[in-house]
Amino acid sequence: MSDATATSNPVIATAPTKRFKVKGSVIVMTLYLLFLMLPIYWLLNMSLKTNTEVLNEFTLWPRNLTFDNYIKILTDPSWYSGYINSIIYVVMNTAISLTVALPAAYAFSRYHFMGDKHLFFWLLTNRMAPPAVFALPFFQLYSSVGLFDTHIAVALAHCLFNVPLAVWILEGFMRGVPKEIDETAYIDGYSFGRFFVKIFMPLIASGIGVAAFFCFMFSWVELLLTRTLTSVDAKPISAIMTRTQGAAGIDWGVLAAAGVLTIIPGALVIYFVRNYIAKGFALGRV
């Protein structure tokens, strides 16, 4: 009993409106977070072990702590180039998606025009398209225009689901900006372009940040299309990971280390958008 009270104290301090049931909720949250963290911990644990230890002993934490697995990845170009490739196409995709989505979202949030509602739903349908359906046609399309195995091909392919997402998120944020601001700016003699960049974009800066984060994230986690569209030059890290299956069996330590390294970028940026994550996932509709 004393244990439970001890752990629940900080929560009572931060949530004074909650009554007796605080203790129960702390237990629920602790169990849930434990469930979420255990598999990740296990990956981290394995990445810090030697292969002998992984295969021969069952240890809850590394007995012979080693960073060799990480050193191998960070010094071998065939490994770390995968990270560079991933980052290049993810950044390209984010830039393209935001550039085209910003004006479109503005139009949807401010004006009625012919077919606007249908168009809006049609955009969403692209978010519903199973990547498996598009894998083969994408391969043929990008091969025929000579873009196969380039970063831009992957970036364009990911626009399929990221552009609709960005439009939806941005539209949600733009709806919150009163229209009077636009009108005042036009009366003051601002042109549309100057108003949009100088006044409007700073107002929805957090929305742009959230949209960028989601484009980054969905481009980063996708594998099926990326793997189909690349062979050597633009191969992403997640596809390179399958290489660890060598003749001598799987190199578990390196595989785990590569996995841990793919989690880090997401973990870094997530802190900045923590309060907007729900709004982003709700496509700007919270």
Partner: protein, 289 residues
């Protein structure tokens, strides 16, 4: 907000239209082309009409995959939605611990999907995985590469691990938007905890919850990478979901016609069900103001 009618707004939409036309319409038309033609190689195509569609509709393989897919999505929704709401109700409302929970819960959402598969592939192994080893030590037979039931449990627990936080985050955002006055009124009425949930929290959460269900349905219906990494569709065909089957057919066996017909029907099923959700969602939006 009052919107003005302005047909010139089309120009602002134009970049999106061109881009999406390139990355969605052209590939989709390729699929439609293949679905009505037959080929003997050498880029020679013959009109086949609806033959492939008829063949696919008769194929047991597709119906089996569809059945497994529907079962998977149904189980996923049945677990994740109530669990997500339950977690959201138990989350600290503000302060450091609230942010802490948000960040920790979002972590699985940001892991590349094949790494999610790898994590669970390792975690479930009897020789080197914590879960598999523990179950084995307790004397519970567990082997996801041989046993159908174990394979299903593994991919379902994996998906719960991966995506429940999304439902919880959305439900939490919905909960936070409820004004304090509602709770005070409930307190004066001496409403029970259940009554508060049933008549205040649930109706107010309905909008975001619909989005959560829509997203979870869509994404679970087109899931590919995670189960593929863990089980490869096996044992046998036990975990071959629609996407896995489709990729096998299109990229593995290069059966373009049947695969294209399959693709179109697959896409239409998702569109149809999503459209129903979407209509319900927008109707709720209107009711909520």
């Amino acid at each position: 907000m009052e919107k003005t009618v302005n047909q010139k707004a089309w120009f602002l939409i134009l970049p999106v239209l061109l881009l999406v036309a390139f990355s969605a319409v052209i590939p989709l038309m390729t699929v439609v082309n293949y679905s009505v033609q037959d080929t003997f190689g050498n880029n020679q195509f013959f009109w086949a009409g609806l033959e492939w569609f008829e063949e696919m509709l008769r194929s047991e393989r597709m119906w089996d995959a569809l059945g497994r897919q529907l079962m998977f999505s149904a189980i996923i929704l049945a677990i994740q939605v109530p669990l997500g709401v339950f977690i959201a109700l138990n989350m600290p409302k503000s302060g450091f611990w609230s942010s802490f929970c948000l960040v920790m819960m979002s972590l699985p959402l940001l892991i590349p999907w094949n790494v999610v598969g790898t994590i669970w592939q390792i975690f479930g192994r009897v020789d080197i995985g914590l879960l598999g080893y523990t179950l084995d030590a307790l004397g519970i037979p567990y082997n996801y590469t041989q046993n159908t039931f174990a394979a299903w449990v593994t991919i379902i627990v994996m998906d719960v691990w991966h995506w429940t936080s999304l439902v919880a985050l959305l439900a939490f955002a919905g909960l936070k938007s409820i004004p304090d006055a509602y709770y005070q009124a409930a307190k004066i009425d001496q409403a029970s905890r259940w009554a508060i949930f049933r008549y205040i929290e649930l109706p107010k959460m309905m909008g975001v919850l619909m989005i959560a269900i829509l997203l979870r349905f869509m994404d679970s219906f087109m899931i590919y990478t995670e189960p593929f990494v863990v089980t490869g569709g096996g044992p046998g065909n036990a975990t071959t979901l629609l996407s896995i089957d489709l990729v096998k057919m299109a990229l593995g066996q290069f059966d373009l016609g049947p695969a294209a017909a399959f693709s179109i029907m697959y896409y239409l099923v998702i569109l149809l069900i999503s459209y129903v959700f979407y209509t319900v969602m927008t109707n709720l939006d209107k009711k909520g103001g």
